[in-house]
Amino acid sequence: MIKTNPIEVDREKGNFHYNTDYEFDAGIGLSEDVVRYISGVKKEDSWLQDFRLKALQTFEKKRLPTHWATNDLENIDFDVIRYYLSKGQMPSRTWEEVPDDVKSTFERLGIPEQERKFLAGVEAQFDSEAAYSRMKDDLTEKGVIFVGSTEGLKDHPEIFKKWFGKVIPTSDNKFSALNSAVFSGGSFIYVPPGVKLEQPLQAYFRINAENFGQFERTLIIADEGAEITYMEGCTAPKFETSTLHSAVVELVALRGAKIQYVTVQNWSNNVFNLVTKRAMAHEESEVRWIDCNIGSRLTMKYPGVILRGRKARGEVLSIALANDGQHQDTGAKMVHAADETTSNVIAKSVSIGEGRSTYRGLVQMPGHLKHCKNNTECDALLINSDSQTDTYPAITVQGEDHSVQHEASVSKVSAEQIFYMQQRGLSEGDAMSMCVNGFVNDLIREFPMEYSVELKRLIDLEMEGSVG
C-alpha cells in the first residue's frame, strides 16, 4: 500500500518538457485575426467562422465572475497567451507515424501502454491538436464515430452540428465564450442506437508549450440505448508563468442511453483550469460525471445535467484535493426539467496545507413537475490548521411533489486517530494517507479499476510531507 518508494520521478510525472517545433502558430494574444487564423488552418465552413467571431464578441463583453468567484481570476493575462499551436491538423492512426518528439512525451506518460491494456480507443492531444487518434476496428464497423472536433464538424455535420453548442450556449459564461471562439481538439463521439462499448474511450490532454492556452471541445452523443464510458487525463510541465486550460464538454444521452464521463485532472500548479461541462439527459437515460481534481492552481468546474426526459437520472461524483497554492472550486448542477427525474451528488474534498476547496451546487425543481428527487452529500476533510473549505449550495424547489436532501459536513483527521495507527507501527505520514484514502474510499470504488489504483497513488503522493 502506502510504501511511498522513491517516487520522485513519478511525483513529477508530467513535469518534463521536450523542445518542439510547431508548423502552425497563431501568435501571442487574442484578436479577430487569431480567430480567423485558427478557422483558416482548419479550413472551416463560413458558419463556423461566424460562430467563432460572434463568440469572441461575447467573450469580450462578459465580465469575470469575481462577484461570486475568486479574485485570482484577475491574474489571467489574456494578452500573453498563445491560442493555437500545432504540427498539423490530422492525427496519426499509428504511434509509428507520430513525430518522435511528441511520441516520446506520450510514451513517457504511459499512454500507448494503457491503450494496449484496457482501452477501446485513444486520442492524444498535444497542445492544440490531437497527435494520435485511433479506435478498435470492430467499433468502426458498428458505426461508432470517435474523431476530433474539426473532423467531426467537417465530416459528420448531420450528426454533430445539431447538438454543437446546444447544451452549453456560447454565452453561458466568459470561458465558454472564449472556448467557442478559439476551440481546437477534443473528441467528437457518436455511439449508434443499442451499441454498448465494453471498454472505455480515452482522451489524454497534454500541454507542452509555455504561455499556452488549451481549448479543447468535446461532444459526445449516445443514441437510444447506447452505452459509453469516456475517460480523460491530463498533464503539463510546471512553468513559472501561468497556463490556461478552458474546455467545453457537451454530452447528449438520448432515450435509454448511458454515459459515464471520468476525469482525472492532474495539471501542474501553474494551470488555470476553467472548464464548462454539461449533459442533456433524455427519457430514461443516465449520465454520470466522475470528476477528480488533484492538480491545477485554480479549478472552476461544476459538471451539470439537464434532466429533460422523464425518468432521466443524473449523477456527479466528485473528489477534490487542494494542496498548498491550490484552490479547487468544484461542484455540480442539477436542473430538473421533466417528471420523475432523479439526481445524486456526492462530493468529497480534502484541503491540505494552505489549500482551499470550495463546493458550489445548484439544484432546480420547478412546480409543474412531478416526483423529482435529489440527494446531495458533501463532506470536507481539513488536514492542517491553515487549510480552508467553503460550501455554497443553492437549492430551489417549487411544488408539493418533490424531495430534496442536502447534507454537508466538515471534519479533520484527529490526533488520536494518528496516534492509534502509529501505535500499530505506521509512520505518521502513512497513517495520514490511510485516513485520507479512507475518507474518499467509497467514492474511488466507483472509478474504473485502472483509474482507482492511479488515483490512490496520486493521493498518497499529495499527502507526503503534509503532516506537522
Binding site: 500500500m1 502506502i2 510504501k3 518508494n5 484527529s414 490526533a415 488520536e416 486517530q417 496516534f419 492509534y420 495507527m421 502509529q422 501505535q423 500499530r424 507501527g425 505506521l426 509512520s427 505518521e428 502513512d430 497513517a431 490511510m434 485516513c435 484514502n437 479512507g438 475518507f439 474518499v440 474510499n441 467509497d442
Partner: protein, 250 residues
Amino acid sequence: MSTLKVQNLSVYIEDKPILNDFSLEIPYGEVHAIMGPNGSGKSTLSKALAAHPNYDIRNGTAELDGHNLIDMEPDEISRAGLFLAFQYPIEVPGVTIANFIRAAIQARMEESKLFKAVDYYKKLYQKMDDLGIDRNFTARSLNDGFSGGEKKRCEILQMAMLDPKFCILDETDSGLDIDALRVVSAGVNSMRSSNRGFLVITHYQRLLDYIVPDKVHVMWEGKIVRSGDKDLASELESKGYDWIKEELAA
C-alpha cells in the same frame, strides 16, 4: 535477559503530575497485572510508554529489550515490539481492518521482502475464527460503529497478527460480557510464551481469573504501593481499595 524496565518515571499532563517516580520491571515470559482505583495513573502509564503526544515525560527511563523508549516516535516504539491494546480503541472511518493490519505488517517488513497476500489472509482468518470474529469484519472500517466487545476483540486480533514482544492490555475487560471475556482471555493466553511479556491493567479482579498473572501490583497516586502474587488481587476484590488507602495513611 529481555525485559520491560521502567525507572523513576515522572509523567505530566498539562503540567499536572500523574506518574511520580514510577518504577517497574517485567521480564519476558511473565504476566504482570496492575490494579488500582480510577485516577491512580494506570492508563497514563500505558499511554506514556507508547509515546502519546499529550503525555509529557519529564524524568526517568523506559527500556524495552534494550531500546530506549523515551524520545522514540509512537510508530518506532510499535515496531520495536510494544503493543498497546487501547482502553478505548479509536474509530477510523473508511479504513478497513484487513488493509490496516496489512499496512501495519508491511511497515515491519524489509523493503525488499514481498508481501504474500494468500498467507496473510490465511493467518488473518485463522485468528478471526479463534476470536469468534465474523470474517465479514475484514471489510468493515476500523472500529467504526463496533460494539464495545467487537472493539476489544479487534484489538486482540491486531495483537495476534502483529506478533509483538511485549503487550499492554489497558482495561481490556471493561465493557465485555462474560462470554466475550472468555474468548478474549483465551486469545491472550494462547499468546503467552517464554519470549513475550504482558502487562495487564485492570480495575477488577474478574479478568485475572482468566488471565492468571505471575505478579500483581497495586497503583495509588502514580506509584506502585503494593506488589504480590495473584492472591493480592483477590484480597483487593474482597476488601476494596479503601483498605490500601487506610494502610497508607497509617
